[in-house]
Amino acid sequence: MSEAVKNQQVLKLENITMQFGGVVAINNLSLEVNQGEIVALIGPNGAGKTTAFNCITGVYEPTNGIVYFHGEPIAVNHPQGKMVKQYGGINGDLYKDRKPVVHTPDKITQMGIARTFQNIRLFKSQTVFDNVLIGTHLRRTSNVLTATFRLNAKEEKANREKTAKLLEIVGLADVAGELATSLPYGKQRRLEIARALATDPTLLLLDEPAAGMNPQETDELGEFIVSIKNQFDLTVFMIEHHMNLVMEISDRIYVLDFGKQIAEGTPEEIQKNPVVIAAYLGVDEE
């Protein structure tokens, strides 16, 4: 892989299999997300989309395969122990000689992958402002003593300014002092994105950002995602069920069904793909 390609390739999954006991949630998934793209991952319920996200962000340790981020392997594994016998995927001995690499979710976020959650996970007891401010904690240079004695005033001030600016950008500046959970649903989604942006990511993973939104809100969200992508020079990888949104803003689409990738291509190609229509659009989303 040449250097230029590596830089282009923000995220790459190679033969990722995730098996829980006897259930193969993802089977040999390979995909790439390139710099500056918006890529969507779609599929019927239970296809393994969120599991794929969890493998990327370190919540789960994939059973087999490699996840690359900017060319760097951030998760490497092959079936071990009991899993050697149980393994139900393919390519089980491809990475036998590679040393497993495991990172906790916070380490992955530090590397520059931020995410939102399918079921909104805001810090309930805190204000909108503090929710975003917490996102700046991981880039701190202070330690617990300098923070307690307020020797990090400069950093704290910079973080607060950054937070205020982010809230301005996502259009939540006027509700900064409200409790996060008192916001209407659409705004909570935006807040989650703002909080993710506060961690200075290069790759943004959005897990069903339009879930529960009405058509108008969904349209606005689409514009919003494109605008923050351009403004923060991001790459976006998202799971979404709203086909209008997916077809409108994504550059490429991967389709997952029963843990297997069944199609890949531009929105036009996916819309015409008979396999996809059979597995997903034609059956589940009439």
Binding site: T104, P105, T109, Q110, L122, I134, G135, T148, N159, A164
Partner: protein
């Protein structure tokens, strides 16, 4: 936490705290030193610190730990061991040839050592225990406290801990009083000094809670998964909160030693942890003000205001029925049940004193209901 937050409530809060300190000082000079009030104030200050330290863990970080008595024990012993005057050691450690430690350190240094000793134990315990969640963690820490209690009473450690015998003769609160040459007290400071000690420690905890780390702790309490996704290292931050909380519990233990004038491992039972937990719950989980307020209330009720219930009371010719030893606890339990029924989230909820004084906050809370 808007940037434009009014400064006024903060100023009023500072003024109130300063007024309390001045009132304590004046009361101490004018009232007889044997008054029950001072016992309550001293013990209340000690319990306030320990309750706030427990609240840092249980209320702000969401780690349900019941090891507080164990860490206080470590702190109390560390303080005693390092401050018993060398001349007194032969009599204190009479069964252990005067003990192994033959030096003393200044009181403040001993208190910091007490905190550090407790924090060190917390670090060791935390390695396995902090992987557990909620009830399991509570049981594990409770078990630890019991083990510590047993170990400190073990004769093998006698030269250091004096085995199951008590430590005594170390400086206590009364030694802070300034006396003239003939031994008469000129300035009473035996209540003000514990107030200052507890005040400084609680102020440090409040500063921590309002710092970037405090926000991270609260994030962990609200949603561990989201906190981790925000780049907060769970293991690191939980350990940090556990050690800091134990540090202050250790300092609180040292103060308890000063209050009691003697230390014996067998008094640091799980019942003590429950008392502190009760204070935290009644005050409001996640409110420093609540913990401080309810610790004084708790101590006043249990040591002073309800004492009469334990004794026979005769009004005229009529002997009040039911009143005998132990009845105080019955009434006390009923009061606690009433408090819990009517203040479901504790007296203060998760509000602090400046919040109560701020009109904006009231409006904000009101708008939510």
């Amino acid at each position: 936490m808007n940037q434009k937050k009014s400064k006024k409530p903060m100023i009023i809060t500072f003024a109130l705290v300063a007024a309390i300190y001045i009132a304590v000082f004046i009361a101490e000079q004018t009232m007889p030193a044997t008054s029950m009030l001072f016992t309550v104030l001293k013990k209340g200050a000690v319990y306030a610190l320990v309750a706030v330290s427990m609240n840092l863990l249980n209320g702000f970080t969401g780690i349900f730990s019941l090891g507080q008595a164990g860490f206080m024990l470590v702190g109390a012993y560390a303080y005693g061991i390092f401050t018993i005057p060398v001349a007194q050691r032969a009599s204190v450690y009479q069964y252990f040839d005067g003990g192994a430690v033959q030096f003393t350190v200044p009181i403040v240094v001993a208190m910091i050592l007490a905190g550090l000793a407790a924090a060190f134990f917390a670090f060791l315990i935390g390695l396995p225990v902090l992987r557990l969640k909620s009830d399991y963690l509570a049981i594990a820490t409770l078990g630890f406290a019991e083990i510590i209690r047993a170990i400190f009473q073990w004769n093998g450690l006698g030269p250091i801990t004096n085995g199951s015998n008590m430590l005594r003769a170390f400086p206590n609160f009364n030694d802070f009083n300034i006396t003239d040459a003939s031994g008469n007290v000129t300035v009473y400071l035996s209540t003000l000094i514990p107030f200052i000690m507890a005040g400084v420690c609680i102020a440090l905890i409040v500063l921590l809670i309002n710092s970037s780390y405090g926000r991270a702790f609260k994030a962990i309490r609200d949603d561990e998964v989201a906190a981790e996704a925000m780049g907060i290292n769970l293991a690191h931050h939980k350990r940090l909160a556990f050690c800091i909380s134990s540090f202050f519990a250790g300092v609180g233990g040292a103060m308890l030693a000063m209050y009691q004038t003697t230390v014996q491992a067998k008094s640091f039972t799980s019942a003590m942890t429950y008392e502190i937990l009760l204070i935290v719950v009644i005050g409001g989980i996640g409110s420093v003000t609540g913990s401080v307020f309810s610790s004084f209330l708790f101590v006043a009720c249990s040591e002073w205001w309800l004492r009469f219930l334990d004794e026979k009371q005769i009004i005229g010719d009529f002997e009040v029925p039911l009143l005998r030893t132990g009845f105080r606890m019955v009434v006390f339990s009923v009061i606690i049940m009433i408090v819990v029924l009517f203040f479901r989230r504790g007296i203060m909820g998760d509000k602090e004193l400046p919040d109560l004084l701020s009109r904006r906050e009231k409006k904000r809370r009101g708008a939510l209901k």
